[in-house]
């Protein structure tokens, strides 16, 4: 791998590009600003993207900032080790399709990752600029998005080649990013792949959770189309374990399973009044709007449009919910979070965008009780103020209650976004499957194989609520693990299997 990187870096075109601009001058280029829709305008639309993408000129300019380091530390920050300098240098020399191809070597959904990855904590946190120069890092995420969008809009997206069919049926359960990455790799290896999804739409959280103003559904759909063209089959409205059992599927010839059923179970705080009307989980709120189009009057699904909307939590779901509330017409859309602003787990960019859109941040504050009107509809919440105590053993400053600091905030909709637990459906159908105390499926971290040899798992069902790119990394590892397992299982296939593997590496 290291060798490979060095070899690529020594290719004539890369050497030449490096010679064109001095590193000192590269370091003087200002990081691009992402053009975005005006905040006052964008809050009027539920389905218009905030970030507008880079144009060719600024993408090339930003690519020039990258110094093509001998030791590209950024790659260590990327969970799927995208060959970052290679794709960026391809942008610098104007070979945008080549850049997109580089991304696709390791990431099944670059247009998605370029939009939703927490870059500031991953690749960009490990960029030479961040680590050594104490300057703003190369905008790796923006460039990733640029290359992927360029390829899609060029109409020249290549459909990856697939190995000859080997006739072995495998199933993926759930259709989020983990499964899509898994399906892409397995179909390339020649397997007969079916993805089962409980909902009527494919994409998991990408469709029902993350709003259109961050990730348009049509971007996800293009990737799904590609998978379908490669031969992946999708079965919607199909709950594995219910519509058919694992045994039923085995009887239908499925030899192995990849469980990526996500962390869909919403948590509540269990405080008095939490079941009043108007108090709902972020999953319900976002599903009604994103999956069921509740914001569009021509659809039948109702959604609660509040004037004073409080969202409890500080992660991406909280940020997505509060910005959705604003777009549905809330006068006051508030974040209530028990820690300080700096400790919010949401992507920095989303916090910033929320701020521009007029979201109120009520930090260091925690709800303790809800009150309702005579119809059982929430009308106010009692909160208490918190302060940060000394750092505990974990190094995080712990929020503690300020006694006597309670007060009430009038609200008519409350969205609870304090996290999710692993979806219990699959484990409850398989008593022999080993799960952790938190309900996540135990797997070997290299092969993603569970305690049941024919069953692999990955994504949020293994990690708890994590990220898109981590889920995709799991999907790819599981594909490799399952391929090896099935090759060993089926001696006759071993030879053909090896041929396939070497092909896939090229």
């Amino acid at each position: 791998m290291q060798e490979n990187l060095k070899e690529e870096r020594e290719q004539a075109w890369r050497v030449e590009l490096r010679g064109k601009i001095k590193n000192k001058d590269r370091g003087l280029i200002e990081r691009v600003k992402m053009p975005e829709m005006n905040a006052m305008k964008r809050v009027c639309y539920q389905d218009r993207e905030v970030n507008l993408g880079l144009d060719v000129q600024s993408a090339v300019r930003e690519a020039q900032r990258c110094m093509d380091c001998v030791n590209p530390t950024c790659m260590e920050g990327c969970p799927v080790s995208i060959n970052i300098p290679k794709f960026i240098k391809n942008i610098e020399r104007g070979e945008f399709l080549e850049a997109a191809k580089t991304l696709k070597e390791t990431s099944a959904l670059p247009a998605v990752c370029g939009r939703v990855c927490p870059q500031e904590k991953q690749c960009e946190a490990n960029c030479f600029y961040t680590l050594k120069l104490k300057k703003t890092p190369v905008a790796i995420g923006y460039l990733e998005r640029f290359a992927a969008d360029y390829e899609r809009e060029s109409g020249q997206a290549s459909i990856p080649e697939t190995a000859p069919k080997n006739g072995i049926k495998v199933a993926a359960i759930g259709s989020g990013p983990a499964s899509l990455a898994f399906a892409g790799d397995m179909i390339k290896l020649g397997y007969d792949v079916t993805v089962f999804e409980a909902l009527h739409e494919i994409g998991g959280v990408l469709k029902y959770g993350i709003p259109e103003f961050r990730l348009p559904n049509k971007i996800v759909d293009v990737e799904l189309d590609n998978l379908e063209k490669m031969g992946v089959r999708f079965e919607r409205n199909f709950i594995v374990g219910r519509t058919a059992s694992f045994d039923d599927l085995k009887a239908e010839g499925y030899q192995a399973f990849f469980v990526a059923s996500g962390a869909g179970l919403p948590r509540f705080m269990n405080i008095p009044g939490e079941n009043y009307n108007g108090i709902l989980s972020s999953n319900e709120y976002l599903t009604r709007v994103n999956l069921m189009n509740a914001a569009d009057d021509s659809f039948d699904t109702p959604v609660l449009k509040g004037k004073n909307v409080a969202v409890v939590g500080g992660g991406n779901t909280a940020m997505d919910s509060v910005r959705t509330a604003k777009r549905l017409g809330a006068d006051r859309a508030m974040i209530i979070y028990r820690r300080s602003r700096e400790e919010m787990p949401a992507r920095v960019e989303e916090i910033h965008h929320a701020e521009e859109e007029g979201i109120e941040f009520i930090n260091l504050t925690n709800p303790i009780e809800y009150f309702s009107d005579e119809n059982g509809r929430v009308k106010s919440m009692k909160v208490q103020r918190m302060e940060l105590a000394e750092a505990d053993a974990s190094g995080r400053r712990r929020p503690v209650v300020i006694e006597g600091s309670e007060y009430e905030i009038p609200v008519d909709v409350v969205v609870v976004a304090i996290g999710v637990s692993p979806n219990p459906l699959v484990p409850s159908e398989l008593p022999q499957l080993k799960v952790s105390r938190w309900g996540t499926i135990d797997v070997d971290s290299e092969t993603m194989q569970s305690s049941m040899p024919e069953l692999f798992a990955g994504g949020d069902i293994v990690r708890g609520g994590a990220t898109v790119i981590l889920a995709m990394g799991d999907g790819r590892r599981a594909a490799a693990g399952m391929h090896q397992y099935l090759s060993e299982q089926n001696a006759a296939l071993a030879n053909a299997g090896q041929a396939n593997t070497s092909q896939a590496k090229n």
Binding site: I239, R242, G264, N270, N283, M292, F299, N375, R377
Partner: protein, 276 residues
């Protein structure tokens, strides 16, 4: 996909649909339900599976006009298709031989009650069923229920069929007359609440099947949450049946009205599109 094979009107507001769904027909058990979406613009609504024919690959649903979706469902014809149908959802009813089972069904609650009555009968129980509704034409599936019950008592609010009175009157009569080992109540939340209060008085273990508002049906959204024994449970995955004694019915009744204003608005919009 999901073709409607047969439609039968029970009354102006209640219709029975037989729908092609071979996988569900094969795997469903008493107590299970499905979630459907009529078309691209429809919402997702849950309906219990009243019966299934494994050979024909069909399931039977009963829908009552309440909102936009159920109204449109009631207007569908054989040959039409339902866009999305997912199931079976929920936990199956715990059925075993207990002795005498008192089954109470109110209104369209009789539809989900039917497979449960059948199940208890087949498990060797004596089954006494009370069918209750506001008036004669709202009593549904009477013949089917009779087939699996040792005795059926019909109660109507206005006395237009069977006896005049509420479901609880019929139930109390049975309880006073013979030993009842278990009770199952399905119907409007108020009806289940009062049935449960009655059976508690006589210490009869009672199951109620809850009709909470749902979206996904897989435990993802929390819309269907109910308080049972002081704990938050999700009707779609932990239920739909719970120990009636522990259910906070008052909260359930309030929550069922949760989207009333929004639903009314959607319904009015819908009616406008129809009349134009």
């Amino acid at each position: 996909m999901n073709e409607i094979i047969n439609v039968e009107s029970f009354s102006e507001n209640v219709v029975k649909l037989v729908v092609k769904a071979p996988r569900i027909a094969r795997s469903r058990k008493p107590g299970h339900f499905i979630i459907l979406r009529i078309d691209e613009k429809g919402e997702r609504i849950p309906l219990t599976i009243a019966a299934a024919d494994e050979k024909a690959g069909t399931i039977t649903l009963v829908a009552q006009k309440v909102g936009v979706t159920s109204k449109r469902l009631c207007e569908m014809k054989p040959g039409d298709s339902i866009l999305d149908l997912v199931g079976p959802l929920g936990k199956a009813t715990h059925i075993e031989k207990v002795g005498t089972v008192l089954a109470c069904g109110g209104g369209v609650g009789v539809a989900p009650l039917l497979p449960i009555v059948e199940g208890f009968k087949k498990a060797g129980n004596r089954v006494v069923t009370i069918l209750a509704a506001r008036s004669k034409d709202l009593i549904i599936l009477e013949d089917e229920i009779r087939k699996w019950s040792d005795e059926v008592i019909v109660m109507t609010d206005d006395g237009s069929h069977g006896r005049k009175g509420l479901v609880t009157a019929g139930a109390e009569e049975v309880i006073k007359r013979e030993k009842v080992d278990e009770c199952v109540a399905i119907g409007p939340a108020v009806m289940m609440k009062f049935t449960s209060l009655l059976t508690q008085k006589y210490n009869i273990p009672t199951q109620a099947s809850l009709n909470a508002i749902m979206v996904d049906g897989t435990g993802m959204c929390g819309a269907c949450r109910v308080s049972v024994g002081g704990q938050t449970k999700f009707t779609c995955v932990d239920g739909p049946e719970f120990d009636a004694e522990k259910i906070d019915f008052d909260e359930l009744i309030l929550r069922l009205g949760g989207y009333k204003a929004e639903e009314k608005e959607a319904f009015e919009r819908f009616m406008q599109t129809v009349t134009i």
